[in-house]
Symmetry: C2
Subunit: 145 residues, 2 copies
Amino acid sequence: MRVNDKLKSVGLKATAQRLKVLQVFQDNERRYLNADEVYRQAIQGTKDIGRATVYRTLAQLTEAGILARSVLDAGSAVALYQLRNSSHSGALVCTACGQVGSFDDDILERRSRAVAESNGFVLHRYQLTFYGYCAKCRASQNRVK
Amino acid sequence: MRVNDKLKSVGLKATAQRLKVLQVFQDNERRYLNADEVYRQAIQGTKDIGRATVYRTLAQLTEAGILARSVLDAGSAVALYQLRNSSHSGALVCTACGQVGSFDDDILERRSRAVAESNGFVLHRYQLTFYGYCAKCRASQNRVK
DNA sequence: CTGTATGCAAAATCTTTGCAGCCTG
DNA sequence: CAGGCTGCAAAGATTTTGCATACAG
């Protein structure tokens, strides 16, 4: 099983809770999830997972490079997670419906590295976040600017 | 007095606490401050300001367009503030010393708008954040990659 | 004077931690 | 079996809110 091996390869045991958390992310490919959303989806059906475990698991999977952690402004400051293989350079936050999607752009990616460098910065990671109205919300409320 | 007028123009009374908060930002031009830092600096000398007031003031000044609010990852998820006239398109977060500086880049700015648009997004604001080691920390610890 | 603004303390969130017991490898 | 994992509840950390009082305009 691929997921199982992924866990093993980073030295984590393949427990039911970790598999469940990974399952949640696979069911939500192109979205960013916060800890609470992961928890709520994880307890569907099987209830045998606690919040603390979700937090610990998110931290471990991020540390292990399986998840990518982003911090952005969804009303309040929140940490959001996504599978790392979803290559993405940025997040699109809809301030109307709250959905957070992602996008890719090579030009932004390259330029970001160049700018960081010219500021004497050794870049480890970067986060590009756009706040606005998504196409769907834009359609349903025409008066938005 | 310019600051006084700025407050009046957005319908806020010029209280000692608000002036003090604005003073703190003027004393920290090119830096991002979180609520706690603002509070700690504000109570220097005069103690007549409470945390609740700092939070309320930050929210009001942001709402009024005097401050810019950014959410980023400084270890944990935090909201940081900066005077809005400091034109800036991005933040440089040093993961070694914790300092958060800013940078400007027209290319990134223009490209960001274009990318948002091509994703069907109406862009209101965006946040470019780079995480890495600043020049200073890089110098003091040579082994950093 | 009147409505805004403030401080304090309590409440609400969100996240982390201590601990005894459970389960994977 | 042993050490890593987990759930629970309590502790932390951060931000918001209710309320009586103080002050700007």
